[in-house]
């Protein structure tokens, strides 16, 4: 199970995320992620991916199932990486759009003190409109907050 502390981080504070896959030739591919949600089972995460970043996504997941997701609170830099196994993908639902909208507002609010002169629409555009939902089972969680503990595995969530 994803701990309550990390669930609260994901649902209340995190504001940017990025996914990673690899193809059958072990070439890595990246996928900006505009939103995320923790499913009721406490071990499934859904990543909401913009159309611009779906190249190589589904074919890589269907080839080997590996998915990594780094989620950060900027600018505090509190960061976690979730590694797991692809379950399924689906079109966006209305409540997914609401998740992305909330995260976009959170991002703009949190970065405004740093980018004081940036127009609102420029900051909002950083969180792109999502296109596809990818669900994966979280098997491992790593701390990625910069500092001496970076890279520590926090949770082996399943027998591997």
């Amino acid at each position: 199970m994803i701990s309550g502390k990390i669930v609260r981080f994901l649902e209340q504070r995190a504001n940017v995320a990025f996914g990673g896959t690899r193809d059958r030739d072990l070439v890595p591919h990246g996928h900006r992620v505009s939103g995320w949600r923790v499913d009721a089972d406490g071990r499934t995460l859904t990543a909401l991916v913009p159309e611009q970043f779906i190249a190589h996504l589904v074919e890589s997941l269907e080839d080997n199932g590996h998915f990594a997701l780094t989620v950060e609170e900027f600018p505090s830099h509190e960061t976690y990486q979730f590694k797991g196994r692809y379950l399924r993908h689906r079109p966006l639902r209305h409540d997914d759009v609401e998740v992305v909208d909330r995260i976009r507002e959170r991002f703009v609010k949190n970065v405004r003190p740093i980018y004081t002169d940036a127009p609102e629409h420029v900051l909002k555009a950083f969180i792109l409109k999502a296109h596809l939902a990818v669900e994966f089972e979280v098997l491992e969680i790593y701390l990625q907050t910069p500092g001496p503990g970076a890279g520590a595995r926090l949770a082996p969530l399943a027998e591997t």
Binding site: F18, G20, L26, P28, Q52, H66, T70, P75, H121, L128
Partner: protein, 140 residues
């Protein structure tokens, strides 16, 4: 995949202070994502990435040299995607010194002084460069 050239218009994007993201893959096929403080323009066909904490990334690129980097161009409403290949690591010299100075500046600006510390400048060959404009994906 051969060699690509970094266009002049990407240089200010690399200096914009927005953290980049990187994906690597271990020899046994597990992808790894991480946030990068800095992508440094070395020359038209090479970029250097800051090695600070991310030991899994360091291990991965020594097992499998391919790397994916995405840099956000906030002002240009775009993302830049680089496919790279690890070549070598430098712990001294002009590239290291220049990156070290920039890391210090980034750390100071973001309240991470004393935490951000450059251990090495990892030099990568640029295999491909792609600009992904995103104006058509803006929120309504």
């Amino acid at each position: 995949m051969g060699t690509a050239r970094l266009p002049a218009e990407i240089r200010p994007v690399l200096d914009n202070g927005v953290p980049a993201v990187m994906v690597t893959c271990s020899a046994d096929g597990v992808p790894n994502t991480t946030v990068l403080s800095q992508v440094y323009y070395v020359d038209e066909t090479h970029a250097a990435l800051s090695f600070q904490f991310f030991s899994k990334t360091i291990r991965n690129v020594r097992e499998n040299p391919r790397a994916y980097v995405c840099v956000a161009d906030l002002a240009g409403h775009a993302n830049w995607v680089l496919q790279l290949e690890f070549q070598r690591s430098e712990t001294e010299g002009p590239i290291f010194d220049a990156m070290d100075m920039q890391i210090e500046a980034i750390a100071s600006a973001t309240g991470m002084s004393g935490i951000f510390k450059l251990r090495a400048a990892d030099i990568y060959h640029v295999l491909s460069v792609e600009k992904l404009p995103h104006s058509q994906w803006l929120a309504s």
